[in-house]
């Protein structure tokens, strides 16, 4: 009996000490250096510290792109990852070997608020959800200049034929119809990547067959079409003259100020216009990449990044509590007020403010109708070849025929699939 009292007292004392030790937790956070990401994370951590004064944060930034991938992988491999970090969902998430490196978040209460479409893209092969959404979803499609459309009496096209007819009219009026910016090579891929809604509308099994090495770009006419579109736009002579030397910033400037009519891009570009040309923000509209059939017109969606907790984190419990807090409607509103709404947030019941930019307004109807959106291929299949942007620059500049580029891209993809150890390659 005496011993029992002793041990209870001891346990009590230990709990007290543990409580004291837990009182001061500093969570390290690693995020990419996009100004919107930084603003969102700073607002979220400030809100969390206000509610839980014993938890403080140390935010560290990393670059995006390929160098950012290397940093995240290196730090996970060496066990030096921050307690909380943000990173892409979809195929890049799968490349992190999530089953071993990332903490399981399936049982967090906040997961109930997350849309199922997002959970899919942060679920590891064993079925555990390992992330919560961080930031707005993006659409891939075509920005257009509203004043030019009004001046020429055009309407946003639903089919590719209408789109090309609009282009001809714009060209006849002496304006630049389609903007391409090949200095930033990644911008050249949009006609192909944003066409994925149309691909899956025609070939519903493409992603699965593609991963299993049963379907190829070169042998699937619907998938090939993206390459052909790019070639067609070049051959029609509707591009800006300096397409080879223009940059992404130039492209956003041109489409917002009316130097050009169309710019295929991700809706992420809205933030760029908001910073550089705030007066022209509402001159810019948005529509999904048109396909062959007006009845089957829909938007290809890029899922937002997610935040993750590494399995090896020393402060896993506290970090998961913070993540749980991020997956709430209040946190979602915090993010909107910090970074603005460049797209819908994937939290149930998180409404966007009424004063969103015109391009976002144009994007929202796609999300409100069931079956009008489809995730981009990179969220459905882990395969994305590294040379796509070089090939699309070649096609878009008329150096290489579309069929040739599609075949070469299939070869490029093969190396990556083998590296990932996918079956049947």
């Amino acid at each position: 009996m005496n011993r029992l009292i002793h041990s209870t007292a001891l346990a009590g004392a230990m709990a007290l000490v543990a409580g004291l030790a837990q009182a001061e937790v500093t969570l390290s956070v690693l995020i990419d250096n996009n100004p919107e990401t930084v603003a969102m994370m700073e607002a979220l951590t400030a809100a969390y510290t206000a509610a839980n004064p014993d938890v403080t944060f140390e935010i560290e930034q990393r670059t995006g792109g390929a160098e950012g991938d290397n940093i995240v992988k290196t730090r996970l491999a060496t066990g030096e990852m921050a307690d909380v970090f943000n990173y892409n969902s979809g195929s890049l998430f799968q490349a992190l070997n999530p089953q071993q490196t990332l903490a399981d978040m399936s049982s967090l209460g906040g997961q109930g608020n997350v849309l199922d479409s997002f959970k899919q893209v942060v679920t590891s092969p064993d079925g555990a959800v390992r992330g919560v959404p961080f930031g707005p979803a993006m659409g891939g499609g075509i920005f257009y200049n509203i004043p030019i459309y009004q001046e020429l009496g055009l309407t946003p096209p639903k089919t590719w034929a209408e789109f090309m007819a609009n282009n001809e009219k714009i060209k006849a009026a002496g304006k630049v119809a389609v903007i391409q910016t090949y200095t930033d090579t990644w911008t050249s891929q949009l006609f192909i990547l944003a066409d994925y809604f149309n691909v899956q509308a025609e070939v519903p099994n493409f992603a699965a067959d593609y991963t299993a090495n049963k379907a190829k770009y070169a042998s699937t006419p619907a998938a090939m079409r993206g390459f052909e579109r790019l070639e067609e736009v070049f051959k029609a002579g509707v591009l800006n003259e300096d397409f080879g030397a223009a940059t992404f910033d130039d492209g956003m400037r041109m489409v917002s100020t009316g130097e050009g009519a169309h710019y295929p891009m991700l809706t992420f570009g809205i933030g760029n216009v908001k910073q550089n040309y705030p007066d022209n923000l509402n001159d810019m509209g948005f529509f999904a990449q048109p396909g062959n059939d007006a009845a089957k017109n829909g938007l290809t969606v890029w899922m937002p990044a997610a935040i993750y907790v590494p399995e090896a984190s020393a402060n896993k419990e506290e970090a998961l509590k913070f993540v749980d807090f991020v997956a709430t409607v209040e946190s979602c509103q915090t993010m909107i007020s910090a970074a603005g709404a460049s797209g819908p947030y994937l939290i149930k019941g998180c409404e966007l403010p009424a004063d969103v930019p015109q391009a976002v307004k144009d994007m929202l109807p796609y999300f409100q109708t069931e079956g009008m959106t489809a995730p981009a291929l990179e969220f459905l299949s882990p395969i994305k070849g590294p040379a796509l942007e070089q090939l699309t620059v070649e096609v878009g500049s008329g150096i290489r025929p579309a069929a040739d580029a599609a075949a070469l891209y299939d070869q490029d993809v093969e190396k990556q699939a083998k590296q990932l150890g996918l079956p049947n390659w």
């Binding site: 390290s28 919107e36 930034q61 940093i71 060496t78 066990g79 030096e80 130039d250 992420f268 910073q275």
Partner: protein, 274 residues
């Protein structure tokens, strides 16, 4: 001066201006622009001079990160270059003066150090094992290890130009090996030491990838890493980025202006004999 010489002089000056001054002027003008103006990337006069505002904003960004970065970079550069000069001079001296099988093996390792690229993850394991990961002194050791081979080569070839007679005279006077090195040889190495200091401090100060991988952590930023504050894939603040570049360029520029003559002298001095 003949007329022809005048013309070639003017042509050379014009070429030098085009290659060296114009980019610098471009950086300066970009650093003085507003965000909107800078995003156009044009070589034009700023519509609205924002030099001071940009300067203050860059300094204050992320809680005065740039000042901390200057401190870290200075510590790493000074520490690494001091270590490099001392170690490389010692190794180069022994290698040059005592040819033999052992020297050849060591020389082979030095060439390997120049040729074989280092692997990141195993290096981090070693650092973690030694408790040096994420520390400034760990970073200094890495910079020494990565740059030692080049410094040794510079020293070795320069020491070849110092006559052995000097060493022998010192031996006859009763000097011990270390005394020969410190009192006789090292003072003669001044030109090549200056070259080493300049070349290596530029390399260490400008290094971007090594601190990126070996020195993570908010407190461990170096100046080159601060450039990431203003450049993202979708949204860049080019005016602040260029202001940051301008500020980061200043320390190496000062080094270059002061040591300009020695750099050239040291380069040619080391190159006389292979």
């Amino acid at each position: 001066m003949t007329r022809r010489q005048t013309w070639t002089g003017i042509a050379a000056l014009a070429a030098a201006t085009l290659i060296f001054i114009v980019p610098f002027v471009f950086i300066f003008l970009m650093a003085a622009k507003t965000k909107q103006d800078a995003s156009r990337f044009s070589f034009a006069w700023p519509a609205d001079w924002q030099l001071w505002q940009n300067f203050v904003e860059v300094i204050q960004t992320r809680n005065y990160m740039l000042l901390l970065a200057y401190f870290n970079s200075t510590v790493i550069t000074v520490g690494a270059v001091t270590g490099l000069v001392i170690l490389a001079a010692l190794v180069g001296y022994v290698l040059q003066r005592r040819p033999g099988r052992m020297s050849n093996v060591v020389y082979g390792f030095i060439l390997a150090g120049l040729m074989i690229p280092p692997a990141v993850v195993p290096t981090i394991w070693v650092l973690q094992g030694l408790g040096l990961f994420k520390t400034l002194h760990g970073m200094i050791l890495i910079q020494i290890a990565y740059n030692l081979a080049f410094s040794v080569l510079l020293y070795r070839s320069f020491i070849g130009t110092i006559p052995r007679d000097l060493d022998e005279a010192a031996i006859i006077d009763g000097a011990k090996p270390l005394q020969i090195f410190w009192k006789v040889v090292l003072p003669l190495l001044k030109p090549v030491t200056v070259t080493n200091i300049v070349v290596q401090s530029l390399a260490v100060f400008n290094d971007f990838t090594n601190p990126l991988y070996y020195l993570p952590g908010k407190e461990n930023v170096t100046v080159q890493l601060t450039l990431y504050n203003f450049q993202g894939q979708f949204l860049s603040q080019f005016n602040l980025l260029f202001m940051n570049i301008l500020l980061v360029t200043i320390p190496p520029l000062i080094v270059f202006i002061f040591f300009n003559r020695q750099i050239v002298a040291g380069m040619t001095a080391g190159a006389v004999k292979g």
